[in-house]
């Protein structure tokens, strides 16, 4: 027997009953009563005639008010930095870092840079391959965990959460070390095969793609796992019963159903990869692999930073992203076809893999080994060595716990940890609340949908330093003294991570067929009620994944706190950068590992609670 998603169905029934009780007995034209209920916001007995009422149905005031409010909020957050960005991109930068006059130089420099063709090709190859790698790793994993009876599911979550919680510099440095000249791979090759060669060169396009692909696979995993968890299994089951093989079912049913989500995700990760400059700089630059953002990195590391150049680059990216989003909007108009959470009610059952279970387990294990165990073991090694050194048995004799002692004996880190927790949990909560409303409005093509989606996605293209400088200026001129406080960092984080939250909420809403909300609306629910009792509970998997992602990634964000933190608002990532940049590799590794452990515990508790909430909505 099929039943509707528990909570949503119950609430719906409840709302219906309440409304029915509230309604006076139907008098006069029953059609008007029906449309009145459908309008959802006209209360009391009908006094209006047909055509006027139809007008009110077309102009949905509460909805417009909500859209306007969201546009104003997001606009206030996004437009001031955007304005700074555009202004800076057209102005001369003075020696005192101020901007004056009008110039097109920054744009001309963009095209006249050395070897534009080579960098552009490298950029596209890098972004495409890294995106594909993230999608393959994250996608396969998400499907296995959420839709099948694969073993070792917990391990996949641990892999994701721990690798997301691992500070960026530690993760990248670990890979540089592992694949580097003196790393274990090259070392083993030299010991056993050819003592004179160095087969792995990490400072190459391949090295960049691997590291970037690993870095973003947890994002894909979290986003898709919420998509798969909420997807209706009916069609998969039907396919299997009709004799389709597992692979055919995945290809023809599971992947097709996830297509809007997959496409949005691919686009998002691709944009992220095109505009990223950390991995290209740290991994590619020493090997002279130039991508479009290499020059961007150099421009912001100079003193004074060439902010004009960086801004011009971002403005161009902004336009490209805008165009891609328009394209995406056009495609997702037919997204209704893919929505599989309908009022019919469903109960996703795990897909029996049969003998494939063990292959699935192996895949999860390999993913764990590559994405997590390898880099973490390199970090652990570093944390135990008195100084950075190759992994060799003889070095084990020098192992020491002095770095851990140094961390534990510094009460100073406790304050930083508290600051970090406050600001990242606050950011994640605010962003996901905003994203819930914005994602719903955008995915349902409500008034202002395109504008909301464009606005909220814009911060994706800001290089950290450009956003940071805009916020420095805003903070210094803000009437309330937020400069140098956690509030300013929080504000910067909210702007920076809104696009990510939006992706989680958006793809979540896409899956819920709008008939549930229509039913609520027909039963007289207003927007608040239908968001609160229908959309939000069904979105819990997506909101949870989004919260977790933003919480973990904000906690390790470095570029903004380095610029915005004051003496009393230092975060743990500032301390880590300081240690790392000053040769305290061992101590930063020790601090990083302890921090990751702590973050994993926090994230796991949160995840458990959220899973329980999701249980009441989906009954599984």
């Amino acid at each position: 027997v099929k039943r509707p998603p528990v909570a949503a169905g119950l609430r719906l029934r409840l709302i219906c009953q309440q409304r029915v009780r509230a309604e006076k007995p139907v008098t006069g034209n029953s059609e008007i009563t029906l449309s009145k209920a459908a309008a959802g916001h006209v209360k009391g007995p009908a006094r209006l005639s047909g055509p006027v009422l139809r007008y009110f149905r077309l102009v949905d005031y509460p909805l417009i008010a909500l859209s306007t409010a969201i546009i104003v909020i997001i606009g206030l957050l996004v437009l001031p930095p955007i304005w700074t960005l555009i202004r800076t991109s057209f102005a001369n930068t003075m020696p005192d870092f101020s901007t004056a006059g009008f110039t097109l130089d920054h744009y001309i420099n963009l095209v006249t840079g050395r070897n534009l063709a080579v960098s552009a090709v490298n950029s596209i190859v890098f972004a495409t391959c890294a995106t594909a790698l993230s999608l393959i790793i994250g996608g396969i994993l998400a499907w296995l965990i959420e839709r099948t009876d694969a073993p070792l599911k917990g391990l996949a979550y641990v892999t994701t959460i721990v690798s997301l919680g691992t500070p960026y510099i530690l993760y990248v440095t670990a890979w540089l070390y592992l694949l580097g000249r003196a790393g274990p791979f090259n070392d083993l090759y030299r010991t056993w095969i050819d003592p004179t060669s160095t087969p792995f060169n990490v400072n190459s396009l391949t090295g960049m793609i691997l590291i970037e692909g690993f870095l973003w696979s947890p994002l894909v995993f979290l986003l898709l796992s919420s998509t798969f968890r909420a997807a209706n299994a009916d069609m998969e089951e039907a396919a299997r019963m009709s004799g389709a093989s597992i692979l055919d079912t995945i290809r023809l049913i599971s992947m097709k159903l996830a297509r809007p989500a997959l496409f949005a995700l691919a686009l998002f990760v691709f944009i992220r990869n095109i505009e990223t400059f950390e991995v290209p700089a740290l991994v590619g630059m020493p090997g002279r692999v130039d991508v479009l953002t290499t020059e961007l990195y150099k421009s912001i590391k100079e003193v004074p930073p060439r902010i004009g150049y960086a801004s011009a680059f971002s403005v161009v990216m902004l336009i490209i992203v805008g165009a891609l989003l328009l394209l995406y909007g056009r495609i997702s108009k037919q997204a209704e076809r893919y929505a599989s959470i309908t009022g019919k009610g469903f109960r996703p059952r795990p897909f029996a893999l049969g003998r494939g279970r063990w292959i699935a387990g192996l895949v999860i294990l390999v993913n764990f080994a590559i994405v997590l165990a390898l880099p973490i073991s390199a970090i652990l090694w570093t944390s135990l060595m008195p100084f950075v050194r190759p992994m060799r048995w003889v070095a084990l004799g020098t192992a020491t716990i002095k770095h851990y002692e140094a961390v534990v004996s510094s009460p100073y880190y406790l304050g930083l940890a508290l600051n970090t927790l406050l600001v990242s949990a606050g950011t994640a909560t605010v962003v996901m609340l905003l994203a819930l409303v914005a994602g719903w409005l955008a995915a349902r093509r409500k008034p202002g949908a395109a504008m909301i989606d464009q606005l909220i996605t814009m911060p994706l293209v800001f290089p950290g330093l450009v956003l940071g400088i805009a916020l420095l200026e805003i903070g210094l001129r803000f009437p309330i003294p937020i400069y140098g406080t956690l509030w300013l960092i929080g504000l910067a984080f909210v702007i920076r991570y809104m696009p990510y939250g939006m992706r989680y909420a958006y793809s979540g809403v896409m899956q819920i067929h709008s008939e549930l909300e229509q039913a609520a609306s027909v039963s007289g629910a207003n927007i608040r009620e239908s968001l609160r009792f229908i959309v939000a509970p069904l979105l819990i998997p997506a909101l949870t994944s989004g919260w977790l992602f933003i919480f973990l990634i904000a906690a390790k964000e470095m570029s903004l706190p380095l610029l915005l933190a004051g003496p009393s608002s230092q975060t743990i990532s500032v301390a880590m950068f300081d240690l790392w940049a000053n040769g305290q590799g061992g101590e930063v590794a020790a601090l990083g590992l302890m921090w990751v452990t702590f973050m994993t515990i926090v994230a796991t508790i949160f995840y458990r609670v959220a899973r329980r909430l999701s249980l009441t909505s989906f009954g599984h």
């Binding site: 020696p95 020493p286 004074p304 930073p305 008195p386 050194r389 210094l476 610029l563 230092q570």
Partner: protein, 310 residues
């Protein structure tokens, strides 16, 4: 980390208050200054130095010596520090009192590695052109006196323009890896085995690591001498407390804290932890690249770096 001198001309909000080499002693500090400093009660320090190694020991010693004056600090790389200070200056809302590049001076050298026999280590400049180093050398990408720009300047100053360019062109063919980080990180990559030979590092970093057992040796191939700086921010909120703190940093007491942390003290009466790090005791020749020399030529040197080495 050193503070690049380029900043000093760029930062209009800041003026250099003290020359690092001027020895001061505790006795000369005016009691009026101490009184005024205590009234202000705080110094806000934007630092590029290592918090655990040097910032906190200095702060603790200062707060102990002058109770009632709190030192608040914010640690960030020099680019971020510069950006902040300049933005605060332009908004006429100055929060910082003090910024630094360390009150010490550093000869800059190349370091060796355990896979390379000691006999193979380069001894003179031309050894760097040996084909065996091709693709195996690295230096920082930071455009500063302590980075490639300063190195190029030192080559010009010691070899002259023509011979200098000739040498640099050959050196560029060695494909030195540009590491997008600072000298300390470059040295760590050397110790970790990624690059057997690195240029433009600080010799005291190598000495600190060697004292912990790291297989590293600093080489006296064209040592460059340059200075760290401490500077007071113009219109900072606590000028007297800042002056007192700078006096403390440069005093024998403050310099001893530097030495203890492994840095090279600027004070002539204070020896470095490994005394031979200082040229007068280590008995080595060096090429001076002073902040003035660097400021006058930085643009040219940096453009040669970009043209030949990037």
């Amino acid at each position: 980390m050193r503070f690049p001198q380029a900043l000093l001309c760029a930062a209009t909000a800041a003026v250099v208050a003290t020359a690092a080499l001027r020895p001061t002693s505790g006795q000369t500090i005016d009691s009026n200054l101490i009184e005024a400093a205590k009234k202000e009660g705080e110094v806000v320090w934007y630092t590029t130095l290592v918090v655990t190694q040097i910032v906190r020991p200095l702060v603790q010693a200062f707060e102990k010596k002058y109770p009632g004056i709190k030192v608040s600090y914010t640690a960030a790389p020099f680019q971020e520090v510069a950006t902040r200070i300049v933005n605060e200056g332009r908004a006429a809302n100055v929060k910082a009192d003090l910024f630094d590049g360390g009150a010490t001076f550093y000869p800059i050298n190349a370091a060796g590695f355990d896979l390379v026999p000691a006999s193979d280590a380069p001894r003179k400049l031309n050894d760097l052109l040996d084909p065996k180093w091709r693709g195996r050398m690295a230096w920082t990408d930071a455009p500063s006196a302590g980075g490639p720009s300063g190195f190029i300047g030192a080559i010009f100053l010691s070899l002259g323009k023509d011979k200098g360019i000739e040498f640099l062109t050959k050196l560029a063919e060695q494909r030195i890896a540009n590491i997008p980080s600072n000298q300390r990180v470059v040295l760590d990559q050397n110790i970790g085995g990624q690059y057997p030979l690195v240029l433009c590092i600080y010799n005291y970093h190598a000495a600190i690591s060697a004292s912990q057992g790291a297989p590293v040796q600093w080489l006296k191939v064209l040592p460059i001498l340059t200075f760290g700086t401490v500077a007071m921010v113009k219109n900072g909120p606590h000028p007297n407390a800042t002056k007192l703190f700078i006096e403390f940093m440069l005093s024998e007491e403050g310099q001893r804290i530097h030495a203890e942390a492994g840095y090279i003290p600027a004070h002539p009466n204070v020896a470095a932890k490994s005394p031979d790090l200082k040229p007068e005791i280590g008995k080595y020749e060096y090429q001076l690249v002073s902040p003035e020399m660097y400021n006058a030529n930085a643009a040219e040197w940096t453009s040669i770096y970009k043209k030949l080495f990037q």
